[in-house]
């Protein structure tokens, strides 16, 4: 027969073969269980991956948010910020830099899309967005350079403008005169979450395009090297600049979390309910061995199978069902998020709240998420089937007599 471990290995193989055959013999029933179970796992996995993806997205978005943003409110509405605020703020100790920014939405009629235009002081001299990867565009076409203003586009904007190989594009000013731009770069596709709908240009070009008065900006972006000082500096700015609205990075982070944090918690509770229902179903199914199954176990016992052997095949059957359902359910959930942006559950998690920038889940598969999904689905199923399996395996051989 050979050494002990070989015998035990062959025993496992034989029992696995038997378990697979036995699953196949009851393929309709087991297929039904796999479908229901896959669905449950799909729901759990979708939620988990959505939440993970949104967390990832909010982290990515927050990375581009300045430490402090200063806006101006008049009668509760946002108004342009006068540039003398920059000098005024500069007096506050602990600030590294203050950068005015002009931004707004541009409605593009041909594609029916709203682009986000951002004008910054650092561009074209420096990076359009600090720390965001960009691809340069070759500039054969830029003949009359002085007439065209440089602009960097997000991938989605580039597609919607249907530029193809061309680099020049014209946008309307409010008075319907045209302003020409020349595309000098595209944001890298992997930064799509924060850059897809962006057109970044020099602050003066943005002012020109929006017909904003000189010495005005939409908001000020303030960088503070010491995170511990952010709140105090925000207080001081508010006191110094009457009518200002001062928003810290932490506050924006809280807004995101408030938007989907409690809903994901709520969703999880609903899920636990679903899982519990499923566990009861599994229990119910497995507990009531049919007379035929009872006879089969008694026969195997008669033929010299130990209780442990019968347990082993039941466990293998459950494990195969679980693994198949787990792979199908998790795979579908992943596809659902990657290819459909999580359309089934996005409203539940993000709801009606309108956030700027809006969030879209990033498909991330992290080991601990997969582990959570596994623990929430496979483990309860195995636990629910083990006791009935044990009771079933305890059927005595003499039942055949």
């Amino acid at each position: 027969m050979g050494p002990g471990y070989l015998i035990s290995l062959r025993r496992q193989r034989n029992l696995l073969d038997f378990a697979l055959g036995s699953l196949w013999r009851a393929r309709w029933k087991n297929g039904g269980i796999v479908v229901v179970f896959s669905l449950v796992i799909f729901i759990i996995a979708s939620f988990r991956l959505m939440v993970a993806g949104l967390e990832q997205a909010s982290t990515a978005v927050l990375a581009t948010v300045p430490d402090i943003t200063v806006q101006r409110l008049v009668a509760g509405r946002q108004m342009p910020v006068p540039l003398w605020w920059v000098e005024e703020s500069g007096a506050v100790f602990g600030i590294r830099s203050i950068k005015p920014r002009v931004w707004g939405y541009y409605f593009h009629e041909t594609s029916g899309a709203n682009f986000t235009i951002i004008g910054v002081e650092d561009f074209p001299g420096g990076e359009p967005l600090p720390g965001v990867a960009m691809q340069a565009v070759s500039a054969d076409e830029q003949v009359e350079e002085n007439q065209f203003s440089p602009v960097v586009l997000g991938q989605a904007v580039h597609q919607m403008l249907a530029l193809g190989d061309r680099v020049n594009v014209s946008l309307f000013r409010p008075d319907l005169t045209l302003k020409g731009f020349s595309v000098v770069g595209l944001f890298a596709p992997q930064t799509g979450l924060v850059t897809d709908d962006l057109m970044v240009m020099a602050i003066d070009d943005a002012r020109d395009l929006f017909a904003l008065a000189p010495h005005n900006a939409t908001d000020l972006l303030i960088s503070v090297p010491n995170p511990l000082e952010v709140d105090t500096i925000a207080q001081k700015l508010m006191a110094k600049l009457p009518g200002s609205r001062v928003i810290t990075k932490a506050q924006i982070g809280k807004t995101y979390n408030a938007a989907f944090g409690w809903r994901s918690g709520f969703g999880m509770i609903c899920l636990i309910g679903t899982v519990a229902a499923f566990v009861i179903l599994a229990w119910d199914k497995a507990a009531g061995l049919s007379p035929e199954q009872r006879r089969e176990v008694a026969l195997l016992k008669t033929l010299g199978w130990q209780t442990g052997d019968v347990m082993a095949i039941r466990f293998m059957e459950s494990l195969v069902v679980c693994v198949v359902a787990f792979l199908v359910g998790t795979g579908l959930a992943w596809a659902h998020i990657v290819f459909t942006d999580g359309f089934l559950f996005k409203p539940l998690l993000l709801g009606w709240s309108v956030l700027r920038p809006s969030l879209s889940p990033v498909p991330v598969i992290r080991f601990d998420d997969v582990l959570i999904i596994f623990v929430m689905s496979v483990v309860p199923y195995l636990a629910a089937t083990i006791v009935p399996a044990w009771r079933g395996a305890m059927i005595r051989a003499d039942a055949t007599l």
Binding site: L9, R11, D17, G304, Q306, A397, D398, L401
Partner: protein, 225 residues
Amino acid sequence: MIIRLHEVHKFYNRDTPRQVHAVRGVSLAVQEGEAVCISGPSGSGKSTLLGIIGGFFVPTSGLAEVAGVKLARLPDRFLTSYRRDYIGFIPQRFPVIGAMSVLANVILPLLPLGVEQRESEERGRQLLTRLNITHKQNMPAAELSGGELQRLVIARALINDPPIILADEPTAHLDSALSTQFISIMSECRAEGKTVVIASHDPLVFQSSLIDRHLILEDGAMVAG
């Protein structure tokens, strides 16, 4: 003596209103290679006695020793190993797993022993050839006729080459031709030196040349033999 029973009693549902005293002080000694038939009316305790010899359960009192194994005090787990190593059991009504193939049914006892698939199938095919149903080896067991089913069950009982064969009313559902076939297969086994114990009240069995000794049970007690 390969089988030794001494003053064996078996109660079902002991100390309850449904208590049955199924075997009452049976003593029995069977030699290796002997073929014994236990007969008696229905309910006389034949199956219970086979169950004790086959290690399906332990006697309530008395001594039972088979192939040197003292059965009376063995826990379930060891009874199972005993059954696996020493007993080829042919139950009444020939239970099989109908959706599985004939060959797969025959090799069932070998699966938990860790015998390699190829080897066990080879052994199964040899037995099926000997019993003349190799041509049905891949057919689902549910599609077999009564006689073929009987041969499947015999092949399955022989697959682990047990020294003792127990059969419970094997001819109860067979016509006389198939009963004769059964007896001749058992005769071959006996010729190989196996010990055969059959519970049957079928004269075709206990009057056949296969049987060395004919025991009669009545109300759980041995009245002749």
